[in-house]
Symmetry: C2
Subunit: 235 residues, 2 copies
């Protein structure tokens, strides 16, 4: 996609707001999807501070009952939460789906692998973080189940091995094409790095795939956004 | 959709196999989706016995790494697990999406509400069942975390109240039209009944919506399939 095409498509798209936090692993999924679609400039990001638990306060729970980021807000008041749902919306918005598949089989397999990336890897890392580490701190983590968190850490490591196996036989998570499923596994890699959960050395295909992902313009635009969005603390 | 239309569409569709268990709440989601689409007759159901843990054995884990039902198997060897992914595939297979939305906003909102139905209700009931009750029995439930299971029971009850609130202001879970999201909440209602988790009396809108759902031909076809598929025990 050229910049000229992006510009003409962008002019016809609605303006959007996204509630998120600049370096959150789930928000990263939508920011990378936006970058892949050339839509980053369409979006105003509204910070919701995870570390002070803004996402669990009544004002935000009225926006998203589940108390999670990110949430896409359209001009007409429509709110879309959940990364997969937001990505699905964005991907068909410009009549040029490149992340969620074109044929029925592509759509099915991409949705399957995205969900699998969540339950076997990304969500497992998240539960480990919130339950078996200090997570977002005692004022946000009001209930923790450390044993469950440890189980999820083990599950996430098994998930890394699973996706390593997948990527030994095909270039991308859902087959021959980069998709929403690759972005979901990327979210898992980003979260793992944040919580110092190392990818086992033997997962060579997973590591090689991630090196390629990190060279994509979308990942680099996300990284630049993270740097730009980092709050400035005045000690 | 008339029977004549169904027949002509059916003739052009691929034959499919679905690994499932006749009265499982997740399998119910795909069976109801198939009934809504007039595609039930296209499918051969292959029983995978949950109560003997067939879904956790290596043969089945090779079909679905996550060890869950249902799984759709296409003639070309493609395997699609996860109810949302299977429904997404089925819904666009006949170029007549009626369950996953037509416009970008519909697709986004339906996927969001389907995921919300899972995390806030259906999946929570499932975790309660597998962790805080005897579940599928000691030979299948090799690890249980009863405290986590109880937390998920409380979450499911809160979820019932949430969806009751949604259904007080609109006829269906994702808006004005029956969708995949209604089927996901139906899965939660089916699972709740199996584990004797009562819907609170004050959830009148949820109960009224479910009465309507149970009068739909798709639900009644599912119920007939359950009866037909029930194994015959010879004591």
């Amino acid at each position: 996609m050229t910049d000229i095409n992006n510009a003409s498509v962008a002019a016809s798209l609605p303006s959007m707001k996204i509630y998120d936090w600049y370096d959150g692993p789930y928000p990263a999924r939508v920011r990378i999807a936006l970058a892949e679609k050339g839509m980053l400039s369409q979006v105003e990001f509204i910070p919701v501070n995870l570390w002070t638990g803004e996402h669990k306060k009544p004002e935000f729970l009225a926006i998203n009952y589940s108390g999670t980021l990110p949430v896409l807000a359209l001009n007409d008041g429509t709110l879309i939460a959940e990364c997969t749902a937001i990505t699905q919306y964005l991907d068909v918005l410009d009549d040029n789906p490149v992340l969620t598949g074109v044929t029925p089989v592509e759509k099915g397999v991409i949705h399957m692998m995205t969900k699998r990336a969540e339950i076997e890897f990304l969500d497992a890392v998240s539960v480990y973080f919130h339950h078996a580490t200090s997570g977002l701190g005692p004022e946000v983590e009001l209930y923790q189940n450390a044993e469950w968190g440890e189980k999820m850490r083990e599950k996430a490591i098994r998930g890394m091995h699973y996706f390593d196996g997948v990527l030994r036989s095909q270039p991308y998570v859902a087959g021959n094409t980069f998709s929403m499923a690759d972005i979901a596994v990327t979210g898992g890699m980003i979260f793992s790095a944040l919580v110092n959960l190392a990818v086992p050395d033997e997962c060579k295909a997973l590591k090689a795939w991630y090196s390629d992902i990190q060279r994509r313009p979308s990942y680099q635009q996300w990284q630049a956004l993270v740097e730009a969005g980092r709050p400035v603390f005045n000690p």
